[in-house]
């Protein structure tokens, strides 16, 4: 991880069309930097330029030139750069590599902190509780649908996970039938939220349920958790937010 202070900026100049083992050079280099743990890299596309062969390459013509200059830039510590330089020199072929002493004033930060699991999302297994909350679809809490508010409250309280179900038919304390209508014109169905977590977590959440649910039914039952896992946060997620 790059920190503030002395660092080296590496600029690599290649031609867009040139290849390395059948793959375009910039893509190979980017992959190499990525999987070798470089903090970040950018590929810039030039609009015109010339290099060692003294031909001017430009995008003036309608034809798509694949000889435009590309510049790949990354900033890393001196040790890291020294470690990667040998392989990079081999990869760039006829291209050029420039090193530039620089100072990092503020290192980039992850938009989502990695490897720091949210405090509540710990492994749970064995005995746990399932809480089901029965409410109406039209119930509201502070002008928002109650089931959405409950779900957000659960998320904010780091409960392990929750699912909202819409009933197609039902009745409750008022003996009024709540029915599904075609084309989902009705917003008066029965709603059930189901959430599984440890007894303490759910008990700690109950006062909030008390406050939010004016009318409804909450049931708690014992369950055995067989499996609760979440996908490991992979490196490949870091730069590829859709």
């Amino acid at each position: 991880m790059l920190t503030a202070g002395k660092a080296v900026k590496v600029s690599i100049y290649v031609s867009e069309g040139s290849t390395h083992h059948g793959m375009s050079i910039y893509a190979s280099i980017l992959d190499f930097l990525f999987f070798r743990g470089v903090s970040g890299a950018t590929v810039l596309k030039g609009v015109a330029g010339f290099g060692a062969d003294h031909h001017i390459h430009s995008a003036n013509f309608v034809e798509i030139s694949d000889h435009l200059p590309l510049k790949i830039e990354f900033i890393e510590t001196r040790e890291k750069v020294d470690e990667l330089l040998g392989k990079l020199e081999e990869m760039v072929g006829s291209g050029m590599i420039e090193l530039h002493e620089t100072t990092v004033a503020k290192p980039a930060q992850l938009s989502k902190p990695k490897n720091v699991p949210a405090p509540g999302h710990v492994k749970i297994e064995g005995k746990a509780k399932m809480m089901r909350i029965y409410i109406g679809e039209s119930d509201r809490w502070l002008d928002k649908p109650l089931h959405e508010s409950l779900l957000r409250a659960m998320r904010a309280n780091d409960l392990a996970g929750a699912t909202v179900y819409r009933g197609i038919l039902g009745y409750g304390a008022h003996r009024r039938i709540h029915k599904e209508k075609p084309l989902h014109l009705s917003h008066d169905c029965s709603i059930m939220l189901s959430v599984v977590d440890t007894e303490e977590k759910l008990k700690a959440f109950l006062p909030l349920v008390d406050k939010m649910v004016q009318e409804g039914l909450v049931v708690l039952s014992d369950v055995d958790i067989i499996k609760y896992t979440h996908r490991a946060q992979e490196i490949s997620e870091a730069g590829s937010e859709p």
Binding site: Y134, M192, L217, V218, V219, L220, S221
Partner: protein
């Protein structure tokens, strides 16, 4: 108002196509629960499933299939649920009833603003 009590929860699984005396079974069960004064019942439709009375089912857009799995949840005190069970025995030809003990908390508005 808030009241806490020990309750029994039934989850009755069958399909949307099942009938009881010409009526859709899940509607008949909800009607029976009401008749017996059971606290509440909710019907859920599954998006996929299989079981004793249903071959593999998948919800598809614009599907006209009526063979979706459904689940009816009924929660009330032990005595109330015991009143319901003989009726279910008669009504359900193919399906499954799962029963569990639950801790229930009922929230209700005061009597005057009920409708």
């Amino acid at each position: 108002m808030k009241e806490q009590f020990q309750a029994r929860m039934l989850r009755i699984h069958f399909t949307e196509a099942d009938k009881w005396q010409g009526e859709v079974l899940y509607k008949a069960i909800v009607a029976k629960c009401m008749e017996l004064g059971i606290g509440g019942a909710t019907v859920f439709r599954g998006v996929a499933g299989f079981g004793a009375s249903a071959r593999m089912y998948h919800a598809r857009t614009l599907s006209i299939s009526k063979n979706a799995p459904v689940m009816v949840t009924v929660i009330d005190t032990e005595e109330q649920i015991q009143k319901l069970i003989p009726h279910l025995d008669q009504m359900i030809a193919g399906g499954l009833i799962a029963s569990s003990t639950v801790q229930a908390i009922r929230y209700s508005r005061s009597a005057e603003d009920s409708h």
